[in-house]
Symmetry: C2
Subunit: 243 residues, 2 copies
């Protein structure tokens, strides 16, 4: 029976500073490391034995995955890294303090940028350090695919091809997979897995350091069950498709 | 210009206990972690920017690589893991204390097992926990390739195909690569790179936590220079081929 564990990275330095992060490669805090280790323990207790892992190219997710695999004693499994699992790119908001941004642009505007489905924040300038063109980890990504800013919709649109080409086929082959990523890229995977509508996905929030363990039928598409391994820190999940 | 850094894992728990390790998946000691972090610092100071990494499927090497990449702020590069970079398999000696083994089998016999080119130690029993057949990380490796014991020669013979098919072509393409592995699998790579004879390779020892940085010509084969980044803890290197 195919299984999939989705893990959101632990607390990052900019989570702590309440700043928009996106593709900026900030590190985990000590609390974030502890959350990542806890993910490993929770999954080990659940008898979870992944055969393949997927992660973004941002260290807060990579380190979360490394600590989790260490807790599972499965550092040896193959790990595929892809920019397509990165957090949503917050454009010109990246690095800004969220409260300052509200004071500057108003609550409503910031809410639209943060919570609307298809309105991206203002783009980051092409010569800005936070533009992906200026980060050599994206040197092999076709220029036209590199975002200067993303809405949730455009984030979904670049996660979906990776889901269909790299992750989903392994589930259909019966593998047990683990994905370590970010709030919005995980939202995209939840939308695909649970077949959530555009408006409803806005309400889904995957908590940090609390693995979402999903059992699937042998077709690797039909969900059999889904649960957060720490019920205390769980958040509401969409209904299973067809439930 | 292609570059290659070879790194031997930091001190392991069984290094400390003076026990034959081989394929047994023991962890790093705190000292080993510090050595791994030092590798990252030394390579960062040398301006080393790897684009691809290779490592065995043993955690002492994987964790050494993770700490090194963290020190280089390049956790995002692709990492290929292969059993072919594992340490030499010490057969029935695995887990035994080296002094007890000498007392039991005599200095000469143990020296033959450890230092001869093509005499393997006695094989581990097929039903023993240390036989690779009983470790699910090797489930996808053809049974006939899984060793019950290895000499240096048989270790070389299974490292070489991985060198030619996975590592060397990337050097020829001009990439900058990093390999984290073990005493004997690194000896195999040094033998291939420096074209060392069978008898002479027995004298080559790659120190732990001290990166061997090799510059190559554009063909990815001809060595231009090779040096240990910490000269104080360096060990003698074979002459550059053709020097």
């Amino acid at each position: 029976m195919p299984q999939l564990a989705l893990i959101r990275h632990g607390q990052s330095e900019w989570n702590l500073q309440n700043r928009f992060t996106g593709w900026v490669d900030v590190d985990l805090t000590d609390e974030g490391v502890a959350q990542a280790r806890q993910s490993g323990e929770l999954l080990a207790k659940a008898g979870f034995e992944p055969t393949h892992a997927f992660v973004s190219v941002l260290k807060r997710a990579i380190k979360t995955l490394n600590f989790t695999l260490e807790g599972l004693d499965r550092l040896w499994i193959p790990v595929d890294k892809s920019w397509r699992l990165n957090e949503r790119h917050y454009g010109a908001l990246a690095g800004l303090d969220k409260n300052e941004t509200r004071a500057k642009h108003g609550d409503e505007q910031v809410k639209i940028w943060r919570r609307s489905f298809d309105t991206p924040p203002p783009p980051v300038a092409t010569d800005h350090a936070y533009h992906p063109l200026n980060d050599h980890r994206y040197a092999d990504v076709p220029r036209e695919l590199l975002p200067a800013s993303e809405s949730l919709k455009s984030t979904l649109d670049r996660v979906e091809p990776y889901w269909s080409s790299s992750i989903q086929p392994r589930l259909a082959a019966g593998e047990t997979l683990i994905v370590a990523a970010h709030g919005n890229s995980l939202r995209a995977l939840v939308k695909l897995l649970f077949k959530v509508s555009d408006p409803d996905i806005m309400e889904v929030e995957v908590p940090t350091g609390n693995p979402l363990l999903i059992d699937l039928e042998d077709d690797g598409i039909t969900l059999r069950s889904a649960r957060y391994l720490d019920p205390v820190r769980a958040k509401p999940l969409p209904p299973l498709p067809g439930a």
